[in-house]
Amino acid sequence: MLSLETTLPCEPGSQGKTARPLLQLHGICKSFGAFQALKDVTFDLRPGEVHVLFGENGAGKSTLIQILCGVQKFDSGRYELFGQDVAGLSPAEARRRGISVVFQEFSLIPEMTVEENLFLGHELTRNGRLAKSEMRKRVRAVLDRLGFDIPPAARVSGLRRAHQQMVEIAKALLLECRVLVLDEPTASLTDHEAGRLLAMVEQLRDEGLGIVYVSHRMAEIDRLADRITVLRDGRHIATLPRERASHGELIELMTGRTFEKFYPEIIRNVGPVLMRIEDLSLPRGLAKDVSFEIRGGEVLGLAGLAGCGKSEVIRAAFGLEQPTGGKIEVCGRTLHGNGPREAIAAGICYLPADRGREGLAMHQPIGANATMAALDVPEFSRRAFGLRLKAERAFTREIVDRLKIRTPDLNATPDQLSGGNKQKVMIARGMSRGFDIYLFDEPTVGVDVQAKLQIYDVIKSLAESGKAVVVASSELAEVLHLSHRLLVMREGAVVGSLEGTEATEDAVLSLFFDNTVANGKG
């Protein structure tokens, strides 16, 4: 593994060379309950540079940013802003001092209009009265400058996600600031829209602002970065200047694993086609004419950047999204779009990415969660009415044992468990009835290494017993190593299908990011 000096002076970003840092973090630690999201992280930002934060999902980038702008308090460490120690920085104080943020999870008020949102907390007033025409003028100016075509009087709740993203960006750029923080600002923008933003970021850098930039898009990093800090599992791994950061190095720093011994070898034993998706289209272009087959005894991987539509395709296959076109067939029978109930009856098991929202009932016992989708099965109920609580208890004991769920007792509720154990409780649902097809969306989010291995084991045993398994993950290594066949999606379309030895990291990355970047990296 590379180990690089973190304090190397950096050459590009000319103003940055000698100037004092705008902000400095020393040894920042941050825990959410028992989970430590940041461990001893050091970071600094100089005027006139774009400092990119790079790392896997869940590496702690957003958490670091939230600490920068006072939304989260840190547990220990030191935070120096403009040379001053700021321990209990509040969001209001941060913004007053000139830190503007584009949050990954938007900070917009859905029921308010675009211009109300843009000026929220910083309204212009004349004699105590809102200066609406003045604000309208400034809003138009900033939207024009960014080239965003959004009506200022539109209500935010009625805007597309991409437009909301633009509002969030405009909100950060509206005010004078010295530090600009952008957390995946281009995640849902098209290249054209993103281009204007990037140009503006460059201009602001030249004006001497310090800019923190988070993105998974390599092209943007290549274009903007002056320095790059890599985070992994909440740890600071390295800070390097752009020239020293080739894509290969970055990705190795980011994942930092020797994959071969980490992932299980799943024996491929291809069976019949169990599920066929034909020309599936979803609203808002989330999926465009997606077609593929799922076979028994095989693990099919779905890879792509966030927002590429892989989650939505899986959800549609399970009946949670209404397709605008296309056909979903299970064992030759077409599903009628009657929602999850029909899909479950057809033998599909879906394990959602967002276990908090769609996966688990956080305050109900483990057993109730594990059998949630099997209340109508004779094993667990008589005539889908009287519950067989003994059988449920036995099943709970079995899954707790088999998946090694660490729990205070069998009646514990998921909200008392750690993230990985929550995930395992959800996965236990897959064993509650005879499913044939398993759809995993981000099966290992927020899961520690140990738990990951156990989940991989589950996937392995399912596939080897002849079930069809689909794994969608934004963790590239994971899909790469688990799947026998890998579909790569970009902007709602399947852009490649890789099998066996073709499925290399380079090949996938070149499909992920547009080809030019991948080629350039060569």
Binding site: F318, L320, G339, P340, R341, A343, I344, A345, Y350, P352, R357, E358, G359, L360, A361, M362, H363, Q364, A368, M372, A373, L375, D376, S381, A384, F385, G386, L387, L389, R397, V400, D401, K404, I405, R406, T407, P408, D409, L410, A412, T413, D415, Q416, R429
Partner: protein, 327 residues
């Protein structure tokens, strides 16, 4: 086999919390009993149990919808309408077909009305997607108005003795009839909530409607059924209260609504849904009734009683807050 079970401190603290309320109730009774021995006389205990039983049905009606993260403001109106309509049917049928048929007809009418009101509420909330507060507020107004109009405003007298005897005075299985019915219904409700699929679905959908939907459960149907159950329980309360006071009263339930929600919540149900067992309305109604009877026996100024009750409600809610924060 249990090597994966790691005991933490969560459980013991949790079960201490479970014991807190019964302890409070016992100390309320003992406290009042020390000052006024009549509190603990067998007559008074029977009285408290009887009052508690009536209140239990209303609190249980709230529990069922609270589990689904809802409210039912119309339980009071349901009680009034059931009282009036059942009495009218009962007296009319008794006059022509004798008291037994009359009582059966009256009770059936009452339960039907409860189920119908519940079905209307449930339809508005589950299928019409109207906020439960507003939906049941409106039905409260409508059915409350209906009960005073169909009765002409007068109480309905001359209920058959069979009815008042069977549902109020008689002792069934060594307990006053309302208490026996409450125990039986409470047990049945407990079985439904804890060990049947529909009961389980209520908790799941109250905890996370999206997760329940994704698990293929019939969210809207069960939401609707919860309101029907609530209506039925309220109707039972209406029938028993009618038997207790011996006449159909058009204003019988007017002031019961807020108290019933409060009793369920103080007993351990949560306004955030997905929580609470039959113990919640049972303990909650014992506490509320015990307090009220005790304050009466001690002759605490009647006008100050609401002040005490209000303070206890806020404390109870704060307690609930702490309990959920402790997790």
């Amino acid at each position: 086999m249990f090597k994966s079970l790691q005991l933490t401190s969560i459980r013991p603290r949790d079960s201490l919390m479970q014991l807190a309320l019964p302890a409070v109730i016992v100390s309320v009774f003992l406290g009042f009993g020390l000052v006024e021995p009549a509190m603990l006389s067998s007559g008074n205990i029977a009285n408290v149990l009887k009052q508690g039983a009536l209140f239990f049905f209303l609190a249980a009606a709230q529990l069922v919808v609270l589990i689904t993260r809802g409210f039912d403001l119309s339980v009071g109106a349901c009680v009034s309408l059931v009282s009036v309509a059942a009495s009218m049917v009962m007296t009319a049928v008794t006059a022509t077909a004798g008291p037994v048929t009359g009582v059966v007809a009256g009770v059936a009418t009452g339960l039907l009305i409860g189920a119908a009101i519940g079905a209307i509420n449930g339809t508005l909330v589950a299928y019409g997607r109207i906020n439960p507060f507003v939906a049941t507020l409106a039905t409260m107004s409508i059915f409350g108005g209906l009960s005073t109009t169909i009765s002409g405003g007068f109480p309905i007298f001359d209920l058959p003795r069979t009815f008042t005897f069977a549902f109020n005075e008689a002792w069934w299985l060594f307990l006053p009839a309302p208490v026996t019915i409450a125990v039986l219904v409470g047990l049945a409700l407990h079985v439904v909530l804890s060990s049947t699929a529909p009961g389980r679905v209520l908790y799941l959908l109250g905890d996370s409607p999206a997760a329940a939907h994704a698990a293929g459960l019939k969210v809207r149907l069960h939401l609707c059924l919860a309101y029907v159950a609530s209506g039925l329980l309220a109707a039972l309360a209406g029938l028993l209260m009618t038997a207790q006071i011996g006449s159909g009263e058009p204003n019988l339930g007017t002031n019961l609504v807020l108290g019933s929600i409060a009793a369920a919540v103080v007993g351990g149900a949560s306004l955030r849904g997905g929580r609470g067992t039959v113990l919640a309305p049972a303990l909650g109604s014992l506490l509320v009734i015990g307090l009220s009877v005790g304050m009466n026996l001690l002759q605490i100024n009647g006008q100050l009683q609401p002040v005490v009750v209000g303070a206890i409600l806020i404390l109870g809610a704060a307690f609930d807050m702490l309990r959920s924060r402790a997790r």
